[in-house]
Each structure stands twice: as C-alpha cells, then as structure tokens.
C-alpha cells in the first residue's frame, strides 16, 4: 500500500522471491572442530556481527539449520560424523568450508586427515586462511548469498535438475 492509500504492485517470479527469502535467512550450524571455530565465534559476535546479513540464528541441530559452517580440521574419525550431519539437514542446504584444513587438509598432509571436506560432502563456498579473518567469512557469506540469488548453488541445481554435480562440472558451468 502506498502512503496515499493507492495499491502499489511489485511483480516477480516466485523462485526469485523464494531465493531472496532464502539468502537473507541463512541459519548456520557451527561445526567448529578446532581453532577456526574461535574465528567463527568472533564473526558471529557483535564486532563483526554476521546478523547484519541475516545469518545470526545459530542452531546446533542439523534439522533446524540450512548452512553448515565446517570450521576446522576433519580427520578420519570425524568424517562419518560430518557426513551424517550433512545428510540430516533438510534441503535446500549449503556448506561453507571454513579455513585451510577444511578446504584442503591444510598443513596436515598425513594419513589420518581428510584432504578437504569436498572429498566427503559437496561444498558451496571456500574461505581461505589459517584461520580466515572475519572479513573473509563475511565476504564468503555475501558470495554465497549472491550465488543463492542467481540459483547456482549446489542445492538449487540439485533441486532444479534433480541430479548432483561434481566440483569440476560446477566450475565449467560457472565459466
């Protein structure tokens, strides 16, 4: 309604409206396994304040969240736990790989550490750094929001085409 009582109409496609709602209401699940978790807490706290981007409702249950922030090293004993938590989240769901260890194994090039969580679950956005600065995390969150708006995250492609995509295909499509 306009101020003078006239009706103003804003036309849009339904999926654009849905994506706009999704990107501004990301409910993160903090999966902090090591020191990156501290940096994630700093990002969520008032100084950097991730709630400015609509991602402040931190839920510790995979059933209630849609953004898995994997902050820290994933070793071979933790890999099945991470996979189970990812499987328990409801669609659409997004994954942020937070820091060098989660993205590539980091300095831990040994038998007991998964060399990147993308060997276990699909990842939408990677944050480099050891640990990443909060600005980097916010940039990653904004990149993810942009990708959600354009409908090119893995969850949305899964939803649309009913098939999962490998990281290589995802990069080709982006180019």
């Amino acid at each position: 309604m306009g101020k003078d009582g006239s009706t103003s109409i804003f036309t849009t496609k339904l999926d654009v409206l849905a994506n706009w709602g999704r990107k501004n209401a990301l409910w993160p699940l903090p999966f902090g396994t090591s020191c990156c978790g501290i940096e994630m807490m700093a990002t969520l706290c008032s100084d950097y304040d991730m709630s400015r981007f609509g991602a402040e409702v931190v839920r510790f249950s995979p059933r209630q969240s849609d953004l898995l922030i994997c902050a820290g090293i994933i070793n071979s004993k933790m890999a099945p736990v991470l996979k189970t938590i990812y499987d328990q989240m409801t669609e659409p769901k997004w994954v942020m790989s937070f820091g060098a260890c989660a993205s590539s194994g980091g300095i831990f090039n040994v038998y007991s550490v998964a060399q990147g969580i993308d060997t276990i679950i699909p990842v939408d956005v990677y944050v480099p750094g050891c640990p990443p600065a909060p600005e980097g995390v916010i940039h990653a969150l904004m990149s993810l929001q942009e990708a959600i708006m354009q409908g090119r995250t893995r969850a949305q492609i899964r939803e649309k085409f009913n098939q999962d995509i490998s990281p290589i295909n995802f990069l080709k499509e982006k180019q």
Partner: protein, 191 residues
C-alpha cells in the same frame, strides 16, 4: 666428553638422591635377574636421563611386579607404556614401560624387544590402566598381547587397514570412510 651434561634433567636438587637410589636398585636387579637382564643404561655414562633396563620378554612380568612391590623400589605407577618400531633391527619392536614411584618420586624405564611374530606379555594384571595402552600399541604398531585374541583399535576406525606408526606404512596412505561405522554388537560386552 661428559655425556651427563648433554641430557637435560629437571630433577634439580633431588638428582643426588635419585642417583643413589638408582645405583642400589640397578645392583639389586642385576643380582636377582642375572641373564634375564640384557643390559642397563645409566645416566651419566649413557645418553639417557633415567636408567633403562632391557629385559627379556619371559621375565618381564616378574621384573615389573618386583619393581612395583619391593621395598626400595616402589615403582607403583605405570606413567606411560608405549612402543617403537626399530626395523630393520631384530627383534623389530621395543615395548617401553615408563614407571614412576609416587612415594620416592623417581622414574625408571624398562624396555623389552619383541619380534613381529611374537605376542607381548600383558601387564593388565599389574596395572589395569594398561588396557588402553595395549589397545593403542595394537592400533599403531600391530603388536599383539597375550590373552587378547580379539583386541580392538582405540584411535583409528575399525575398518582401517594396517598400522600407521610402523616404519613401512606411508603417512600419505589416506583411508577416509564417509559412511558411519557399522555397529559391532560384540563390543558391547567387555572382553
């Protein structure tokens, strides 16, 4: 060259008392166990901070229980219990027992060589806490212990192949299992 100065100890003013203790203890061990003791390294003459007693596997339990109970020894606490892969030496593995006396406050180390095909004697009868250390040694080195045919891993996944701390195990041989471990009903009951 004075080897004693190379090994830094934090025993401080008690070092003199410890040395006197160790000297009498080593003499008594030599007198009692004779050829079962393969060798004794002593601080000052060898590159070590505490005495190391090398013992044959057959008289390990006897030596450890002697050191636990006997007056003048009182090594009543098994502080740590681990292994090392010494290949290509034969016997391949060393099992290392680090003992501590809660009354006399000094430490001593016992080493036992064990071949890959042999079973090491279990010291669970002396210290019940050795249970987890034995599981760890099995997990990391693949050394089996007497009376434990169904010993299970403590750190690695149960589906893991091989023993990671062996010298012939590549540290880059990743084994990542994305799916959860299947339940093992037999593990619900104690061994």
């Amino acid at each position: 060259m004075n080897i004693k100065q190379q090994v830094v100890t934090n025993f401080g003013s008690e070092l003199a008392r410890f040395e006197a203790d160790w000297r009498s203890q080593v003499e008594r061990i030599k007198a009692r166990f004779k050829e079962a003791v393969e060798g004794i390294s002593f601080p000052g003459t060898d590159f070590t901070d505490v005495p190391i007693v090398r013992v044959k596997p057959t008289s390990l339990i006897e030596l450890l229980s002697f050191m636990k109970i006997e007056a003048g020894f009182d090594y009543d606490f098994c502080a740590d219990f681990t292994a090392s892969d010494e290949s290509p030496r034969e016997p391949r593995f060393d099992i290392i027992y680090n003992l501590f006396s809660t009354t006399r406050h000094n430490r001593i180390r016992v080493k036992m060589g064990i071949a890959e095909s042999e079973e090491a004697p279990s010291i669970r009868s002396l210290w019940a806490g050795a249970d987890w250390s034995e599981r760890e040694i099995w997990d990391m080195f693949g050394v089996r212990f007497e009376g434990r045919p169904n010993i299970r891993r403590i750190l690695m996944d149960n589906r893991w192949k091989g023993h990671p701390l062996r010298k012939d195990y590549s540290i880059y041989s990743y084994q990542i299992f994305p799916n959860p471990e299947p339940p093992y009903p037999e593990y619900l009951e104690d061994e």
